[in-house]
């Protein structure tokens, strides 16, 4: 079958809009792919959502402080991966962060700076070490009351990976899966193109392109502080919290990570954001095919860009005070040519709630 037409579909799930663009022989075929993909996304949402009353994650959260809760192999493997990232990142990424997010009002509530006492008390329920996993029984048990699991955007990355796997199994050769602009996978590439074009914007300014990526059989995830934050007494508080201190991460505007799997990219972009370039580098180096781009700074102040393994040009735009590559891979600034802006073909990635 000649698969030469581009079709697009979208659905609302996992607290965001998921868009899929794919090449298929005809509209009926494309519809079947969309239906299959969106069914899978909704299935994962129903399973891993921490706010849906009937999800498997809610069942675990409701009971695991009282007894070990057995879950199915898929959910257990997913949680194991989350805990593995928590351990390897030294807690910079933590699947038990939920109570902190709520305390700061970043989850539905009104944003506020909590008191030291409240922060201390909440920190007493946060920490991946407070959960015991038993692979023999596929069970999860909270060792401290008040703990809850909130894998955040990791579920979104997992959903993207699952859709990629299903579409591949169905013989789809070219598709772009985009979950809320923050978790993206380029399966194959459009005919005659090196990949699916994804533009990494300057933080908070989607019209200014920082770097243009051709995504082919690769995923990309972006975390940004500019999507949700508040200012109080001259200080800016972003919604991405450091689970170890319980406080918003400072000095970081945006991180973008490319890696072969969207689940990994989601975890790594958060870790890169919370830990910064130097500390997260080890983890990135351990991930085959990973690359990263950091924009350090505070909103409205001078910025600094750092990259690791980032092979695409990074543009110098106004306000950038300093740019450095950890391994000096980038060409000199003068050699970088600004790419033509092609809104119909490109996709802008942006930070999303993690």
């Amino acid at each position: 079958m000649t698969e030469n037409k581009l079709f697009s579909g979208s659905c609302q799930a996992m607290g965001t809009r998921v868009q899929i663009h794919l090449y298929a022989g005809d509209e009926n075929r494309a519809e079947l792919y969309f239906e299959m993909a969106f069914d899978e996304i909704r299935r994962i949402d129903r399973t891993l959502s921490h706010y849906q009353d009937r999800s498997e994650l809610t069942r675990i959260n409701r009971s695991a402080a009282r007894k070990a809760v057995t879950t199915d192999p898929e959910v257990f493997r997913f949680l194991e991966l989350g805990f593995e990232y928590s351990r390897r990142s030294g807690g910079a990424f933590d699947v038990t962060i939920g109570p902190l997010v709520r305390l700061w009002g970043f989850f539905h509530g009104s944003m506020q700076v909590p008191s030291d006492d409240d922060l201390r008390q909440t920190l007493g329920t946060v920490g991946w070490q407070r959960v015991a996993l038993d692979p023999a029984w596929r069970s999860i048990q909270f060792l401290t009351p008040g703990v809850e699991l909130d894998p955040g955007a990791l579920g979104k990355g997992y959903a993207v990976d699952r859709v990629v796997s299903l579409l591949r199994d169905e013989g789809v050769h070219a598709a772009l899966i985009d979950a809320g602009s923050s978790s993206i996978y380029g399966l194959g590439s459009p005919p005659g193109k090196p990949g699916w074009i994804v533009r990494v914007p300057y933080p908070g300014n989607p019209s200014r392109c920082l770097s243009t990526v051709n995504l082919r059989d690769n995923s990309l995830s972006t975390s940004g502080s500019y999507e949700k934050f508040f200012r109080l007494r001259g200080r800016t508080y972003c919604h991405i919290l450091d689970p170890r201190t319980g406080r918003p991460v400072g000095g970081m505007l945006q991180t973008t990570v490319i890696s072969p799997h969207a689940t990994d990219s989601e975890a790594l972009s958060t870790i890169a954001f919370v830990s910064g370039p130097r500390t997260s580098l080890e983890l990135l180096q351990e991930t085959s095919g990973a690359s990263a781009l950091w924009v350090l700074g505070e909103p409205g102040t001078g910025d600094q860009i750092q990259t690791w393994n980032w092979t695409e040009p990074v543009l110098a735009v106004g306000g950038l005070a300093y740019r450095s590559s950890i391994e000096a891979l980038l060409p000199e600034e003068s050699e970088i040519q600004e790419n033509a802006f092609q809104p119909s073909k490109e996709l802008v990635t942006k930070g999303n709630d993690k």
Binding site: D53, S55, E56, R59, A68, F83, A132, L133, D161
Partner: protein, 413 residues
């Protein structure tokens, strides 16, 4: 990342995390003798969902996967483990020794054969809804349950939904008066068709999209409406006495043989009515059961339930004798009390009973096996819903009224 790769990644994670588990007694309350070994006939998408849910119950494992479509084995083993035995014939699965109970998730037309054979092999059965395609098939399964003295639970999981049970409790308490009408919907907006690797392969098309073909399927009424019918039968405490129906292939003219929209009206002996509608071209109504009683209404959805009292039936707060004796008091204004009008009152269930109906149903089935307890959604519940579906489909097909006289005279199976 596919599941296999994911499994590989997670294997590394196990080593790291399990070092934390030395003080953990996870799942140890399940003794080896309490392990329940399940075999499954039909490892399609519904079967895979069920496998996943059953594996959330401590001590459950799958010891046999049976299907006639080769790719299902790989898909199934991704859920149950790479070494799960596979069978290409259900007879082989039933001949295997380490199978305590069988899950049947095959096309509807095969339920009677597969459930019957599983029961005859001495296994308990969790059988997907609807019970069987025909009234005779439903009768055969009931006979097989009685003949073998084994447990049979039908996959009508909403029978286990806590809010649905709570609604039933309220109705039976008489709080909302007499239920006379139920309007139920399952409205979707999709083709109800699944992708087939080779669309030109007619046999494969029918195998994967069996729900669309008469030979195998009871269409929307069986696959969607059986939940609503099972519940209405319970609310009205009876099998219907007649049904009229309509439906057609009006939009998805893609070679399917079952209607893409149906409307059926069942009449019950107590002068009660169930109206059920399923469409595949609009999802405004979604999945819901609207129960209308003389003193109130209950709306049940997949996410819970809401109660509305009927203001017109509110009794005066002042006893009539008192009015004659003491009169009434005048005030600046009188605001009529209209409790729970507007947004209604959410049906509350104790937190220890809340949860996903599918998990509760599967967990209950395993508990029945361990405790040798009779399932709630047993062969009688299944038979009533199954017969209601089968005769409802006759009404849709003929466009005429079907009377349940023969079935009614038998009461229940």
């Amino acid at each position: 990342m596919n599941r296999r790769e994911f499994l590989g990644q997670a294997a590394t994670a196990v080593v790291a995390v399990s070092t934390l588990t030395s003080c953990h007694k996870g799942g140890s309350e399940v003794a080896p003798s309490d392990r329940v070994k399940l075999g499954i006939i039909g490892v399609g998408s519904r079967g895979q969902d069920l496998m996943q849910v059953f594996l959330r119950v401590p001590g459950v494992e799958f010891t046999g996967l049976c299907d006639v479509y080769e790719p299902r084995f790989t898909q199934g083993r991704k859920i149950t483990g790479e070494n799960t035995p596979i069978y290409r014939s259900y007879r082989q699965l039933l001949d295997a020794r380490d199978v305590d109970a069988v899950v049947v998730a095959t096309p509807l037309s095969m339920h009677a054969e597969h459930v019957g054979a599983s029961l005859d092999s001495g296994r308990h059965v969790y059988g997907e809804k609807s019970m069987a395609l025909t009234v005779e098939g439903c009768d055969e399964i009931v006979s097989a349950v009685k003949r073998n003295g084994k447990h049979y639970q039908v996959g009508l999981q909403y029978q286990y939904a806590p809010e649905y049970r709570e609604a039933l409790r309220i109705i039976r308490s008489g709080k909302i008066g007499r239920v006379l009408q139920i309007h139920a919907y399952w409205h979707r907006n999709n083709s109800w068709r699944r992708a087939v690797p080779d669309p030109k392969d007619a046999q494969l098309e029918q195998l994967i999209n069996w729900r669309l073909y008469r030979k195998y399927s009871g269409g929307l009424l069986a696959e969607l409406g059986s939940h609503h019918l099972g519940y209405a039968n319970e609310v009205f405490g009876s099998l219907p006495e007649s049904v009229t129906g309509s439906g057609g292939i009006d939009y998805w003219k893609d070679g399917r043989e079952v209607p893409d929209n149906i409307q059926v009206t069942y009449r019950y002996p107590g002068g009660q009515t169930l109206f059920f509608s399923a469409v595949t071209t609009n999802r405004l109504e979604g999945c819901q059961i609207r129960i209308f009683a003389t003193g109130g209404s209950i709306v049940l959805t997949q996410d819970g339930g809401t109660l509305y009292y009927e203001p017109s039936t509110e009794q005066s707060a002042v006893p009539q004798e008192s009015i004659i004796e003491h009169g009434i008091i005048t005030a600046a204004s009188y605001k009529a009390e209209e409790p729970y009008r507007g947004k209604g009152k959410k049906l509350e269930v104790p937190s220890d009973t809340s949860g996903n109906p599918e998990y509760l149903a599967c967990n209950s089935f395993i508990d029945c096996l361990r405790q040798n307890r009779h399932p709630e959604a047993d062969e009688n519940v299944a038979w009533k819903a199954g017969v209601s579906v089968a005769l409802g489909n006759q009404a849709i097909d003929g466009g005429n009224k079907i009377v349940f006289s023969d079935q009614q005279s038998r009461g229940t199976a």
